[in-house]
Symmetry: C2
Subunit: 159 residues, 2 copies
């Protein structure tokens, strides 16, 4: 598993840094990138997991019998089906998940959380929550949180 830290920055504006609302956009990007990089770095350092792997564990741990079909899992994690095939390959090698046949349908494959995966997720989730608290929640007061939510909601992808 690799280690990575990738701020997005620049990509954002286009030297239109003059307009105040455009600057807000840029700031949004920078903060997001820095937060994401930090959470990912911590997760890797302490649990040797990428956030994608963590997300897979998260969704499996919330699923009915800790099992999901490739299809469902791909949708939950928001990744292409073929991309997921590779991820699951490696996570299976790492002993975190297992592939199993599905009773009624011989086309389908179920991915299940192994005990090791279960356990790894539990500690990982504490790392993640702590990260969010430290780098985000703790820096905002109640009012900030409310305002931020309200503003972000206006940016709904609806269009």
């Amino acid at each position: 598993v690799t280690a990575k830290v990738k701020p997005a920055e620049e990509v954002i504006d286009g030297s239109l840094a003059a307009d105040p609302r455009a600057r807000a956009w840029r700031l949004l990007f920078e903060r997001h990138a820095s937060l994401f990089a930090r959470l990912e770095a911590e997760m890797r350092a302490e649990q040797d997991l990428s956030l994608t792997w963590y997300d897979v564990l998260l969704h499996l741990s919330e699923a009915p019998r800790n099992r999901l079909r490739m299809n469902e899992l791909a949708e939950a994690v928001v990744i292409s089906k073929s991309g997921l095939t590779g991820i699951v390959d490696r996570m299976e090698s790492a002993g975190l998940v297992a592939r199993e046949p599905v009773a009624g349908d011989r086309r389908a494959v179920q991915v299940s959380l192994t005990p090791a995966g279960q356990e790894r997720f539990e500690t990982a989730s504490q790392v993640h929550r702590r990260g969010i608290r430290e780098h985000f929640s703790d820096r905002l007061d109640e009012a900030d949180g409310e305002m931020l939510m309200a503003i972000l909601k206006k940016l709904a992808p609806a269009s």
Copy 2:
């Protein structure tokens, strides 16, 4: 050049969706992902450029003689040097940039914007600005912009 749309979503919380400030964090991620995906999709559809390629063009177009060394460019775009090598390879094939030797130092390579790259950037930058206006700026009023900036500033990566 490929087409891609990748919301990050989920990855963010960890079923801690209860806490209001944690939800703000999640929303920040979702909005960022959706905005980024949209800008990238539009740039690809209308100019056949990824935002990374756009960013390369942007930095070259702002550089002194429209030239930067690989080193400097890699830093500006926030990408690894070796990653940039590949990007420049493909952008060179596409005729957008060119590699040139550097006068004083035979180790170094300069990347320059070709006329085609110049031209492509100019239209691309209009696409980009329009996207930011449409999907972001236009949805917020002055006060929102100010508030958002103020809140985001509290999340400074300083630590």
